[in-house]
């Protein structure tokens, strides 16, 4: 341990380290954002467990739904897997997405957020950079889950391009949805409450969508819910991308869903961010 530095050493060496007052030029928005992206990626490196745990639920759902209900839902487990995998990919991203809110809230409760706010920096970079860093998380998880799907017999008609397109699209979707968790992270009292909120919100949202079944057999009111659910449009787009059947209309609706999330939650988050200093 290096705690044995004698007091006198500190007293001698500190002045030397403090004589230089040269302050570099304030970094621009891009550099600031990139620094926060780098920080988010370092966290992934230091805490790989969080990545592993993010695979578990999607993998479990894939296995349970395919082999337990698949036959009943789609006639054969193979057919159901073709239907299910795109939904699972969306779900994978959604389940990791809430970590955005948890880590922001941890930053606030632990105090480092105050340090960031006491710096003269481009402030949205704190939130944007974290979201971009999470892109690495999504990519890793999507690759793993897709590989599992391929292993089980998932055959995307859209080929490699379709899968790459899916990963790209889901990055956009997660970036937009992440603002919802930023807002939650800024409002809620503790990381635990963000976690609790996520289970209350996410499960209904995932089930009230077309991830597991097409909405045709659902009651009318539920179909309305399913059709306004942004997750539904994301899943439809991913089905189109992986299947190589994406229509312009499907893509448009998916982009509208992303845009809607962004337009609502990004300004809300920035408002809450500023309100934090007003309190």
């Amino acid at each position: 341990m290096s705690t044995t530095t004698p007091t006198s050493d500190v007293a001698r060496s500190v002045p030397a380290a403090l004589t230089s007052r040269t302050r570099p030029k304030r970094p621009g928005p891009l550099a600031t954002t990139w620094t926060f992206t780098w920080r988010a990626m370092l966290k992934i490196k230091h805490d790989p467990d969080q990545i592993y745990s993010s695979f578990i639920l999607p993998i479990m759902f894939t296995l349970v739904f395919t082999y337990l209900f698949g036959g009943a839902l789609a006639g054969s487990t193979g057919d159901y897997l073709q239907f299910l995998m795109p939904g699972i990919l969306v779900m994978t991203v959604i389940m990791i997405n809430m970590y955005t809110g948890i880590s922001l809230n941890t930053d606030i409760t632990k105090g480092i957020f105050d340090r960031f706010r006491s710096l003269s920096i481009w402030r949205p970079g704190i939130l944007v950079g974290a979201l971009l860093g999470d892109a690495l998380r999504y990519t890793i998880a999507l690759v793993v889950v897709t590989a599992l799907g391929l292993l089980l017999g998932f055959r995307p008609g859209g080929g490699v391009l379709g899968v790459l397109g899916t990963i790209l699209f889901l990055q956009l979707f997660a970036f937009c949805l992440g603002w919802m968790w930023n807002a939650a992270g800024l409002v809620l009292k503790s990381p635990e409450s963000v976690n609790q909120l996520s289970s209350v919100v996410l499960f209904p949202l995932v089930f009230a969508s077309n991830v597991f079944v097409q909405p045709e057999t659902m009651p009318g009111w539920l179909q309305v819910v399913v059709n306004v659910n942004p997750i539904t449009h994301a899943v439809t787009a991913v089905r189109g991308l992986t299947g190589g059947t994406l229509t312009g209309e499907q893509l448009t609706w998916a982009l509208v869903a992303c845009g809607a999330l962004l337009v609502v939650f990004a300004p809300l988050s920035m408002y809450l961010f500023r309100a934090k200093s007003l309190r």
Partner: protein, 325 residues
């Protein structure tokens, strides 16, 4: 900008949380340079005041100029020259010590290599080189504190806020933090430091403001504060314990007030700050042939000051030392 401008000047700062008037009309002038101590018990409003001055919380009323800039209108100008080390370590526990400092360096605008070099330099100076690659969550309290302060001086600030920098540290770690503070002051930084430790304010601070229930109840040098409370104490030691009663009469005759016997049979003490009278009393003793082997003048402790100012004791887990003159 003139050098004589105070580092901080506030007028009627107020912050209310629901029913609690956490800061209730604070007027402060913190001169540039040196250490300014902000002393008060738990819940007095120290942290809230600092968070307002560090542009993290907007005041509900009042105005403040920090480093010559208006707190509410020009927060970014203030942020560019100020650093804050909060009451609870404001470093990233998941990152290593080195990564934390590089992160700050990058956010201040250093290039990757400059930031890494500066991080190495600071880790070395703060005795953290061996722990540089360890995640901060595995650091001891003292290491964390040092890293936290290092993170605040990646670029030496003109003004540094330190919120209870030594709370929970062992005496050695505390001494290290004090050394760092002295070095910063020598480098020209103004340090505003909050503390619950009367001794700390006494030792480090050039000026002290005592805050209680959101209000400043006293301000000045710690000497001013002690004098404002009145008397110190004179301790006298006799060569012959037998003559203590006699000496007691002489002392009360010259100085007045109650003369108390000390713990040892040859010791006496009496409250007084009047040096002239103390001098005459000593002369009287020698005239009466009462041998004096030693005497000591004690200033009042800040503990006593606090009690006298607020009517209640400072609610702290460490007693301010009686200053031995």
């Amino acid at each position: 900008m003139t050098v004589v401008e105070p580092a901080i000047e506030t007028s009627g700062l107020v912050k209310v949380f629901g029913e609690t008037r956490a800061v209730d009309g604070v007027d402060l002038v913190v001169p540039a340079g040196g250490v300014y101590g902000f002393l008060g018990p738990n819940g007095a409003g120290k942290t809230t005041t600092i968070r307002m001055l560090a542009t993290l919380v907007r005041p509900d009323a009042g105005t403040a100029r920090v480093l010559g800039h208006d707190l509410v209108r020009e927060p970014d100008e203030i942020r560019a020259r100020m650093s804050l080390t909060g009451q609870y370590a404001s470093v990233d526990e998941q990152l290593t010590g080195a990564e934390n400092l590089i992160l700050l360096g990058r956010l201040l605008g250093f290039s990757k290599t400059q930031a890494a070099a500066r991080a190495d330099e600071l880790l070395d100076v703060f005795g953290l080189t061996e722990a540089a690659g360890k995640q901060v969550k595995d650091y001891s309290g003292g290491m964390r504190r040092r890293l936290d302060i290092a993170a605040s001086v990646v670029v030496t600030p003109d003004l540094l806020f330190l919120d209870e920098p030594t709370t929970g540290l062992d005496p050695r770690a505390r001494n290290q933090v004090w050394d760092v503070i002295r070095a910063l002051v020598a480098a020209g930084t103004t340090v505003l430091l909050t503390t619950q430790y009367l001794e700390e304010a006494d030792r480090l601070a050039d000026r002290v403001a005592v805050i209680d229930r959101g209000r400043i109840v006293a301000e000045g040098t710690s000497g001013d504060l002690k004098r404002s409370v009145g008397s110190g104490t004179v301790h006298v030691r006799l060569s012959d314990p037998e003559r203590r009663q006699e000496a007691e009469r002489v002392l009360s005759g010259v100085i007045g007030g109650e003369v108390k016997p000390g713990a040892e049979p040859n010791a006496l003490s009496v409250a007084s700050s009047d040096l002239e009278r103390v001098g005459s009393a000593l002369v009287e003793l020698s005239r009466a042939g009462i041998g004096v082997t030693g005497y000591r003048l004690d200033e009042p402790s800040l503990d006593e000051v606090f009690f006298a100012l607020t009517g209640h004791p400072a609610d702290v887990d460490e007693k301010g030392e009686e200053s031995a003159a």
